[in-house]
């Protein structure tokens, strides 16, 4: 158990962090920068990611607390630590998990138009965000005795999860010496989705000195729903208890991954603009899109109000009383099969960069005729926003780019975000012949103790670039 947990946490750390890939953004030595900004100013002739290895992205983030807060071996009673953690966290704190795996990634420069670069591919993504259901954690951990007259809010329950594959194709055009523009079309094929984000209502135990009984337990205007797509089928398999269930699930998942799922469309757009020779501004908007859930859809919804004041005796009405029946009647749980659609989490990136220390014209053999020699140093500021169910996530980074040699290019970032105010990230990219290998990690200061980190990442991948 212990080993597994350690491994799990280790894996979290070994994985790549956050939809915000601050080290990779505008790192135009790598084709993966095109996925963050289709208008990145890239200068490849072609590229091909090593299948399944061109990018693994895996992010885990905790906002508000870390594993260390609860499991630190510090001699304190774990129950106190859990209580402290629950009290510290708010319903705006969350746990996120994002994982991406590039299955195929390729690109080539147009033969007819040297200013045009095409790229495309297929990646798989898992995206999960669970807000801390503070009120109900308190209810479960402490009960309602100390919270008489305090409403427990159903809006605290908020989570979305999605497993999907994304087919994409983009173009990147150097419009003129100053402006590069790019756009990417995406086709989403959703394997599994659930969302429960618009819950309303409260549960309150009200003290009623003048009432029929000591309390009134009131569920007020409850409207709680969970939308699922791709779940009903799984449940059916489980209930049949088939021995080849696993095979069925795999087949179904693969089918959905290859455009057999709930489909959606989306776009990325982005640009790079050289203000002056050494100043560059970039911006991008990615995953502006929507998935339409029409297949295998089930929505569970409970709506209504209910008041319970105990059991009246002797019974005054003729019907007898069964609280659970009354509750079910007042707040029925409906299963609906209505289609729904949901926006993808839109991400915005922007940066301003100052480049300097240009290669002497003859000192490197690293650019095409007609192009300017690359700069060896750059620094600047990047911002990132991602839209989430409750409110957007933000991050801002200062970065320094250093091209140590043709073979070795690096980027150092300092990021302030929801998780941390001292997030140092580093990217190292080697370019040896056509073979590229890159590795990036962030939250380096926390690396000596990942459990105390609220999010750590390593990104790595292999490409063939010309």
């Amino acid at each position: 158990m212990r080993v597994l947990l350690c491994l799990f946490i280790g894996l979290l750390g070994c994985s790549i962090y956050s939809q915000n890939k601050e080290t990779l953004y505008d790192f135009t030595d790598l084709p993966q920068s095109l996925m963050l900004n289709p208008g990145a100013d890239v200068n490849f002739k072609y590229h091909a990611g090593v299948p399944f290895l061109s990018q693994l992205h895996f992010n885990v983030g905790f906002r508000g607390a870390s594993i260390y807060d609860v499991f630190a071996d510090d001699g304190r009673d774990i129950n106190d630590k859990i209580e402290n953690t629950i009290n510290t966290l708010t319903s705006n704190d969350f746990f996120t998990l994002t994982q991406q795996l590039d299955l195929i990634n390729f690109g080539w420069r147009s033969k007819n138009d040297k200013d045009l670069y095409y790229s495309g591919g297929l990646y798989q993504e898992l995206d999960l965000i669970v807000y801390f259901p503070k009120d109900f954690a308190v209810l479960a951990y402490q009960g309602n005795q100390d919270f008489i007259n305090v409403p427990f809010r159903f809006s605290n329950v908020s989570a979305t999860g999605e497993l999907l594959t994304v087919y994409h194709f983009g173009y990147n055009k150097k419009v003129n010496k100053k402006l590069t523009f790019g756009a990417r079309a995406k086709l989403y094929s959703s394997i599994f989705n659930f969302r429960s984000t618009k819950n309303r209502g409260t549960f309150t135990t009200i003290e009623t000195p003048q009432g029929n009984n000591i309390y009134q337990h009131v569920i007020s205007n409850a409207d709680v729903s969970v939308q699922t797509a791709g779940y009903a089928f799984l449940r059916d398999i489980e209930s049949e208890d088939n021995s080849d269930g696993a095979k069925q699930v795999t087949n179904k998942f693969l089918g959905r991954a290859f455009l057999g799922g709930n489909l959606g469309i989306g776009f990325d757009v982005g640009f790079t603009y050289k203000l002056e020779d050494q100043w560059t501004v970039t911006g991008s908007m990615t995953d502006l899109g929507m998935i339409f859930y029409t297949k295998d859809v089930e929505t569970y919804q409970a709506k209504g109000s209910f008041v319970f004041e105990g059991l009246e005796t002797p019974i005054t009405d003729d019907n007898g009383q069964d609280v659970l029946d009354e509750l079910e009647e007042a707040i029925p749980i409906d299963t609906l099969n209505t289609s729904y659609s949901a926006l993808r989490p839109v991400k915005l990136n922007g940066s301003i960069k100052y480049s300097f220390n240009r290669y002497e014209d003859d000192s490197c053999n690293c650019f095409w005729d007609g192009e300017g020699a690359p700069y060896r140093d750059a620094f600047g500021l990047q911002v990132f926003t991602q839209f989430r169910p409750k409110r957007p996530q933000y991050a801002a980074s200062l970065f320094y780019y250093k091209r140590l040699s043709n073979f070795l290019r690096t980027k150092l970032t300092y990021t302030v975000d929801d998780y941390s105010f001292k997030n140092i990230g580093f990217l190292l990219s080697t370019h040896i012949n056509k073979i590229n290998f890159y590795i990036s990690a962030n939250n380096l200061l926390e690396f000596s103790n990942l459990a105390d980190a609220r999010g750590v990442s390593i990104q790595l991948g292999f490409n063939v670039i010309m």
């Binding site: 946490i9 005795q145 000591i214 105990g310 059991l311 069964d322 690396f447 459990a451 390593i458």
Partner: protein, 196 residues
């Protein structure tokens, strides 16, 4: 060859980084010590006995009358502990019972847990209610003795099959001039002790 070597080195370095980055000073065995001890408060039975509702129509003033006992007897479904899981993880249940009386006679309220087929189980609980001071006065409040009634884990085990509860208000001979209300209010406090 050189390329391969460098790549191998980088890969090795990343593996080292990943391994070296593992967590320290964590003790997941602490999970064994986690105890959840929430306390849930829930309404229990309630009753309103307005004497005026029980005086037979046409009874002249200042006449003694009795109410047949079955009128104020009742059996209601009440699943005290629900499941074995609940019994195993309940430290105790405390029943707080209060009776507010403005009628100028004393009563006794009784309740008894029953099995699904109506067999009494556990003890009979009896709450003496003091006489009130008459209609329109501040009610006289009586509590159970002991207050609260504590059903400890052993008692809860004994009451595991309780599915119903029988209640009765025992009424002495009344006078048709009496006025007022007897209100019974009660709650159950569930003290959970759940060890992971």
């Amino acid at each position: 060859m050189k390329t391969k070597k460098i790549h191998a080195l980088l890969l090795f370095a990343s593996i080292i980084l990943m391994t070296a980055s593992c967590v320290k000073e964590l003790d997941f065995e602490q999970l064994d010590d986690v105890v959840l001890t929430p306390v849930f408060e829930a309404d229990f039975i309630y009753s309103e006995f307005d004497i005026e509702d029980y005086i037979p129509q046409g009874t002249p003033p200042n006449i003694e009358f009795t109410i047949p006992p079955e009128v104020l007897r009742d059996t209601i479904n009440y699943d005290l502990v629900g499941t074995d899981f609940a019994i195993d993880n309940l430290d105790r249940v405390e029943l707080t019972i209060e009776a507010r009386n403005t009628i100028e006679v004393g009563f006794t309220i009784q309740f008894q847990f029953l099995t699904q087929d109506g067999q009494p189980i556990g003890q009979l609980y009896s709450i003496p209610v003091q006489a009130g001071l008459g209609e329109g006065t501040e009610p006289v409040i009586s509590f159970s003795d002991p207050d609260p009634i504590v059903l400890d884990n052993a008692t809860l085990n004994q009451l595991a099959s309780a599915q119903k509860i029988a209640t009765e208000i025992i009424v002495p001979t009344l006078n048709s001039d009496l006025r007022g209300v007897l209100d019974l209010r009660s709650k159950a406090s569930y003290y959970v002790n759940y060890q992971l």
